[in-house]
C-alpha cells in the first residue's frame, strides 16, 4: 500500500509565472485604457492614473495617508473583532440548540436584510459622531454573515462525525470542543472572510458621514473641498488595495491543516 504522490507543490510553482504575470498584464491594460480615455475625453476634472499617483504622494507627504488608513483599520478592527466574538458563539449555539434557533432565527432574518447604511441615522442618534458610530455599523454589517455561516456549519455538519464522537462517549462541552467546533471551522472561516469584505465596504460608507478621518472621509472631503478628484480616486485605490490585502490575510487561515479538508481540492 503506497501513498499517492502529492503534486500540489510542483503544480503551484509551474503556474506561478502565469499567476503573477497575467494579473499584471491586465492591470497595465486597464491603467493604459484609463489614461487614454481621460485624454480622449479632454476632462480636466477626472484624473489620469499619474495624477492619482501624485495625489497619493501629496497625501503621504502631509502624513494624511497613513493617518487615514490607520483610522479606518482601527474602526474595522473593533467592529469586526466584536462581530467575530459575538457571531461565532451565537451561530454555534443557534446551530446546535433547536429551541434557540426557533426563537431567534426569524428575528435575525428580519434584521439581516436591513442595510447598514439604513442604520446610519440611528447610529448617529445613539453614538454621536465619535468612532463608536462607525464601529457599531461595521459590527452590524459583519455579525450576520458570521452568525449565519457558523449556524449553517453546525446544522450541515456531517452526521457521521457526530455519531463517531457519541460512540466514543463524548457529550456536552468536550463534544463541542473536540468535534462540533473543528467540524464547523472551515465554513466559519469562509463566513469570516465574507464578513471582513463587508466590514471594509461599510467602514468607507460610515466614514462619509459620521467622522472626520479615514479613507471614506478622505473621499467625501476631497470632493467637497474643491473637487479634488485625484484625491477621490486615490482614496478609492487605497480602499481597493487594502481590501485585497485583508482578503489575502484571511485566506491564509484556510491553509491550516486543521481546516484545509473543508475546502475541497484546489
Amino acid at each position: 500500500m503506497s501513498v499517492r504522490p502529492q503534486p500540489v507543490l510542483s503544480r503551484q510553482s509551474r503556474f506561478s509565472i502565469a499567476q503573477i504575470s497575467l494579473p499584471v498584464i491586465v492591470g497595465c491594460i486597464f491603467v493604459a485604457a484609463w489614461h487614454l480615455a481621460v485624454k480622449a475625453s479632454g476632462s480636466d476634472i477626472f484624473p489620469t492614473p499619474w495624477q492619482v499617483c501624485l495625489g497619493l504622494g501629496d497625501l503621504a507627504r502631509q502624513g494624511l495617508l497613513l493617518k487615514y488608513i490607520v483610522a479606518s483599520l482601527f474602526r474595522v478592527s473593533w467592529g469586526f473583532g466584536l462581530a467575530v466574538l459575538v457571531g461565532v458563539p451565537l451561530g454555534l449555539v443557534l446551530g446546535w440548540f433547536k429551541l434557540a434557533f426557533t426563537a431567534l432565527n426569524p428575528f435575525i432574518q428580519i434584521l439581516r436584510p436591513i442595510s447598514p447604511i439604513a442604520w446610519i441615522p440611528v447610529a448617529i442618534l445613539w453614538f454621536g459622531v465619535k468612532d463608536t458610530a462607525p464601529i457599531f455599523l461595521i459590527f452590524l454589517a459583519s455579525v450576520f454573515p458570521i452568525t449565519v455561516s457558523a449556524m449553517a456549519a453546525v446544522q450541515n455538519m456531517q452526521q457521521v462525525y457526530l455519531r463517531a464522537a457519541q460512540n466514543f462517549g463524548l457529550s456536552g462541552l468536550p463534544l463541542f470542543r473536540r468535534v462540533i467546533l473543528p467540524a464547523a471551522l472551515p465554513q466559519i472561516i469562509t463566513g469570516i472572510r465574507i464578513a471582513l469584505g463587508v466590514a471594509w465596504l461599510v467602514v468607507v460608507a460610515a466614514e462619509m458621514i459620521a467622522v472626520n478621518s479615514g479613507l471614506g472621509y478622505l473621499i467625501i472631503d476631497a470632493r467637497n473641498a474643491g473637487k479634488r478628484y485625484d484625491l477621490v480616486v486615490a482614496g478609492m485605490v487605497m480602499i481597493g488595495l487594502i481590501g485585497l490585502v485583508l482578503d489575502l490575510l484571511v485566506r491564509r487561515l484556510e491553509k491550516f491543516d486543521e481546516v484545509r479538508w473543508g475546502y475541497g481540492q484546489r
Binding site: 500500500m1 457521521v160 455519531r163 463517531a164 460512540n167 466514543f168 473543528p182 491543516d257
Partner: protein
Amino acid sequence: MGNADMETSPVIAVRDTWMSFPGKTADQSVHVLERVNCEVQPGEFVCLVGPSGCGKSTLLNIVGGFLNETRGEVRVEGEPVSGPDPGRIFVFQENGVFPWLTVEQNIGFGLLGRPAAERAERVAHYLQMVSLTGFEKSYPRELSGGMRQRVEIARALAADARVLYMDEPFGALDFLTRLKMRADLIRIWQAEKKTILFVTHDIEEAVQLADRVLVMTKRPATIAEEVRIDLPRPRDLDSPGYLEARDHIFSIMGMDARGGGATD
C-alpha cells in the same frame, strides 16, 4: 473471561424486533424490520447480508444504539441497548475518521483519559497492526480510501472496543483494496479476538469473512436463514466448500449465481 456464564451468553441478542419509520401519514409508516431474531456469540464474526435497502443497516444501527426499535428487545453484553457505548465501536461506510486530526490523533481519539505514555504505546501498536506506521502525522485527506478505513478500524481497536459494528466499511473501495482489507480484517480479528457484526450486500464478501452469515429477506426484512461457514482461514475462494456456501446464499436470495448473479 474465566466466567462460564459469560462464555455461553451471547454478546448480542435480538428478540422479536420490529422497526417502522413514520411515513407521510400515520397509516403509511414504512415497515423495515419484522420479527427479527438473532444472536452473536463472544468472539464470533457474523455477517448480515440482504438486498439493498432491506434494513440491514437499520438493524445494525439499532444494535449500535443509534436507533430505537419500535418493538422487541435488543440486549448487548447482557444489557438493553440505551445508546452508543465506547466499548462497542461503529465503523461507518462513509468513513468517520475526523479530517481535522492527524492519523495518530484519530487513532488516539478514544484514549484521551489515559496517561500519555500508554496512549502513545497503544497508538503505535495499532498503527503497526493496520500497516500505517510512517503516516502518524498525515491527515486523512492525504490518504487513500483504504488507508482511511484502516485508520477508523485502528481507532476502534485502540479504544479497546470489545465489539465492532461494521456497516459496509469496504463498500466505497476498489476491488483489489477490498480484497486486501478483508484479509487484513481477518488477521486483526484473529489477533484481537473481537466480536464483529458486519453488514454487507456483497455475498462473496460475507462468505470470505464470516463464521456465520445471516441472510435477510426483502423489506419488511426478517432473517431468512442462518448459514454457518465452516471453512478454514485463509479461505480458498475456489474451494468447493466456498462455492457451495456462496451459491446457497445466492439461492436463498432468489438468484442463480451462474446466471450472472449480481452481488449488488
